[in-house]
């Protein structure tokens, strides 16, 4: 995300005014009208910009400023609407007026071929943006035999807003992880807008910062190690879903035992405050195995995984999770507390599947996996692993949904 001409600036203290949160949708009505009107103008401006850029090789400054302001305004508006920020946005999209803002670098020359086919080239990014920001009315079940959460989990942004609304009303604060997740979505959509409006010819970057994957930040002991190579075997990519079948069968069988073990862990943790070591290690191995299988199935890694969930046996791996004291009150209602995380995990699952579909096509044609998509998928997988670990009592630290901790994404070193 660093090095991209469209960058995020966060200046939000996480506090939310309860009254404004409660009436958020209504308060945003003027902005709906203004947004749609400005969108119609922006479409016209984009067509003009496209023609001009084809002729001139770079966007004309007036059109650039107009569309950049529109892009910023979109971020301001949606940050307010989806509770990523709390200040009522202006109507001009002026730089520096919103706690959630984007900086757009000055225009540079663009290749005419890329400009001509811009819309077609943007299709994969559209798909990712739909998974992140597009609402869906499908009831989503995270397809696994041991988790039965069902919820309306549309795009990630909608889910963040839905959960954040309740949290903001109760606590007067937006959880940092969800705020950062929402900001990540808005940044990606802004990058896509900038790409489509020809403000930049840099493709939207779906990858969260590298530190996000290991994420021992925010005190969560469940992290993911991503050492996957970019090479993909075309043969295994083609048959990936079928090759995963024996693992899915073994997963189902092992899952039955893991659920039973989790139930025993729950009882033990209620009584003693800790999960017995054999149970902890058994369930941890199961979760690690799930990470390996999911990474293989969703093309985040190349090799065929083993069946034992052994640590350090797979390039996308789950390090050992320390066995900690578990608070009894939270343990007693663990499955209820886990529900919001399961909902959000289900929403992020759409991102994972979208990345997998795109990785499949790219893997078949180029024999490699783009780093951006691979890391985005790993981010979603990491959250899912944290959610599973929390639900199965491997840790009582709530899953952290943010791609980064704090107010700014971690800068990516130049490659």
């Amino acid at each position: 995300m660093s090095g991209h001409p469209v960058r995020l600036r966060l200046n939000d203290d996480l506090r939310r005014m309860r009254l404004a949160v409660f009436f958020r949708l209504i308060l945003a009505i003027p902005h709906y009208l203004w947004y749609w009107a400005w969108t119609a103008l922006a479409l016209v401006a984009t067509i003009l910009n496209w023609v001009s850029t084809l002729i001139l090789g770079r966007p004309p400054r007036p059109l650039f400023r107009f569309l950049a302001a529109y892009t910023r305004y979109t971020v301001h508006f949606h940050a307010y609407l989806f509770l990523i920020g709390d200040e009522y946005p202006g109507f001009t999209g002026r730089n520096g007026r919103s706690p959630v803002d984007v900086e757009i670098a000055e225009p540079t020359r663009q290749g005419r071929l890329g400009v001509f086919f811009r819309l077609a080239l943007a299709v994969p990014a559209f798909l990712v943006a739909s998974a992140l920001a597009g609402p869906s009315t499908n009831a989503v079940t995270r397809a696994s035999p041991y988790l039965t959460s069902v919820g309306v989990a549309g795009g990630v942004l909608v889910t963040v807003a839905f959960l954040g609304w309740f949290s903001s009303l109760v606590r007067g604060r937006m959880p940092e992880g969800m705020r950062n997740l929402g900001a990540y979505v808005l940044l990606y959509v802004a990058q896509l807008d900038a790409y489509l409006f020809l403000l930049t010819d840099r493709y939207p970057d779906a990858a969260p910062a590298p530190g996000a994957i290991s994420l021992s930040t925010a005190g969560n002991p469940v992290s993911l190690v991503n050492e996957a190579e970019a090479r993909r075997s075309r043969l295994t990519v083609l048959f990936r879903v079928l090759l995963a079948l024996p693992h899915l069968v073994w997963s189902a069988l092992w899952g039955v035992a893991a659920i039973a073990a989790a139930f025993a862990s729950w009882a033990a943790a209620l009584l003693t405050g800790r999960v017995p070591r054999p149970l902890h290690e058994f369930v941890e191995r199961f979760v690690r195995y799930q990470v390996h299988v999911q990474a293989f199935l969703y093309l985040l890694a190349n090799p065929f995984p083993g069946f034992s969930g052994r640590v350090e046996s797979y390039p996308v791996d789950l390090p050992p999770i320390p066995r900690e004291v578990q608070r009894r009150p939270a343990t007693a209602v663990r499955i209820v507390l886990a529900y919001p995380a399961l909902l959000l995990s289900g929403a992020l699952n759409w991102l994972l599947m979208t990345c997998a579909v795109l990785l499949w096509f790219v893997g078949l044609t180029l024999g490699r996996a783009p780093e951006s998509l691979q890391r985005a998928g790993c981010f979603a997988l990491r959250y899912w692993a944290q959610t599973l670990a929390y639900t199965l009592l491997l840790t009582d630290r709530y899953p952290y949904s943010g791609p980064w901790a704090g107010n700014e994404p971690v800068p990516i070193p130049a490659q």
């Binding site: 075997s233 043969l235 295994t236 083609l238 048959f239 879903v241 079928l242 090759l243 079948l245 024996p246 069968v249 390996h292 190349n302 090799p303 065929f304 995984p305 083993g306 069946f307 034992s308 046996s313 797979y314 390039p315």
Partner: protein, 449 residues
């Protein structure tokens, strides 16, 4: 004084030679015993209730009208060439895979058995890719002659799903073989073959429960016919199901499946709806019941078991230079040997299948005693399925799992001839018996014996 090399003990050398010789003799005797046992089992599995028949010649032109015969031959011609080419390509694909497939071990982070599974699955994946064009050609040909209604995309998706089932099966097979080979590297086949036979038995039993789109036969008259025919065969009432296939094909088919309590008869719905009359359907039911009455499914498992031993042995023998079946790098070669053997023994399998089908035909004619219905059924089958009533010999030997339509009609006529001969013999016996009685009545003091 230098050390002197120890001279070999002549006695030890002789003892070793004797032990080797004894082992060879013992192995030879065991092999002889196994071959004898195999032959005895094959002999009993081969026995059927079909008597020696002199089948009359039935010309293809006697079965189908000239136009229909031309169409059937044209349809069959391309399909059999397509099948032959597909099998040759399959063999070539596996041969290439056997040569280069071991390189794919680098795509695995699993242990030996997991890697073996991966190589096995990828082998069948490569084979699927190689055969895909031939399947599409066959589908196109069948669609153009209105024998199939399946769309191309639907066919590919269906074939893909079937490949998934194949992957699961091959994983289970590799798991068994490699797990046993771990402990019995040279003789895993002795344990593996019976295990696979047991799995085949289980699969035969479970088949009715995993076949999709089945619903009970609604026609009460046909159900009653089925019960009557089952009773005539000495069977309890056998459930008859209908499988919905009309969206995929127009060809009619039926099969018997299951063992013991899971026995079923399945009619494709392309048989119903007035395409075949009740007499013809009775023959179909009687034919399928004949399979169950003579335990053909169990016999097929028996034949499978008989062939499983030599096939497993050959795989073990062929892969020993690659480290044996516990080495994943041996899997590609094992696949080639397995597929090669399947193709090599295909004529034998076809022969066995034709033999069992002929018995089912015979039982059908015997229980229905309706040669007219049987003949009309076979003629109708040839017409609706665009089947060549008398295919070329090479195709017959390799692929025909049923007697040809001409042979089936010939069997009907042979049965009719036997009935006529039997009736003539009985009437002659009745006449001569009355004559003897009459002569005895005319002679005083005669004893009628």
């Amino acid at each position: 004084m230098g050390r002197q090399r120890a001279r070999p003990d002549p006695g030890a050398v002789t003892r070793r030679e004797l032990a080797t010789g004894r082992r060879r003799i013992a192995s030879g005797l065991l092999l002889l015993l196994a071959a004898a046992g195999w032959s005895v089992a094959a002999y009993y599995l081969w026995q059927t209730s079909v008597p020696d028949l002199h089948l009359p010649h039935v010309a293809a032109g006697d079965v189908l009208a000239p136009g229909t015969l031309r169409t059937a031959r044209r349809v069959d011609r391309l399909l059999r060439i397509d099948t032959l080419l597909s099998q040759l390509v399959l063999l070539a694909a596996f041969a290439v895979y056997a040569r280069y497939g071991a390189r794919l071990t680098r795509e695995s982070a699993a242990g030996r058995i997991g890697t073996g599974m991966l190589l096995a699955m990828l082998g069948f994946g490569v084979a699927w890719l190689a055969q895909l064009p031939f399947g599409l050609v066959a589908l196109w040909w069948e669609r153009s002659h209105h024998l199939s209604r399946v769309g191309y995309f639907t066919w590919i998706v269906g074939s893909w799903s079937t490949l998934g089932g194949t992957f699961l099966f091959i994983c289970a097979a590799i798991l068994i073989v490699m797990a046993v080979a771990r402990f019995l590297p040279g003789s895993w086949w002795l344990v593996g073959a019976p295990l696979f036979a047991a799995l085949a038995l289980l699969q035969a039993f479970a088949q009715p429960y995993i076949t999709p789109s089945l619903h009970p036969l609604a026609d009460p008259a046909l159900r009653a016919d089925a019960n009557t025919l089952a009773k005539a065969d000495g069977l309890p009432p056998i459930p008859v199901f209908v499988q919905d296939v009309h969206l995929e094909t127009t060809a009619p088919n039926a099969e018997a499946m299951g063992l013991a309590s899971s026995r079923r008869i399945v009619l494709w719905d392309t048989f119903l709806g007035g395409r075949f009359d009740r007499r013809q359907l009775r023959v179909v039911l009687a034919h399928e019941l004949g399979h169950l009455a003579r335990d053909h499914i169990l016999r097929e498992v028996g034949w499978y078991a008989l062939f499983a031993f030599p096939e497993a042995y050959l795989i073990a023998y062929a892969t020993r230079r690659r480290g044996g079946m516990f080495e994943p790098t041996a899997v590609p070669l094992a696949l080639l040997v397995f597929v090669g053997m399947q193709l090599a023994v295909q004529p034998v399998h076809s022969l066995i299948s034709r033999h069992l089908e002929a018995e089912a035909d015979w039982i059908a004619i015997e229980t229905t005693r309706d040669p007219v219905g049987a003949r009309s059924l076979f003629v109708r089958l040839a017409a609706t399925s665009a089947v060549d009533p008398s295919p070329p010999t090479w195709d017959y030997v390799l692929y025909e799992g049923h007697p040809t339509i001409a042979q089936r009609i010939a069997m009907v006529e042979a049965w009719s001839a036997r009935q006529r001969a039997g009736a003539l013999r009985r009437s002659r016996e009745a006449v001569s018996g009355r004559s003897r009685q009459a002569r005895s009545a005319r002679l005083p003091g005669a004893v009628v014996g």
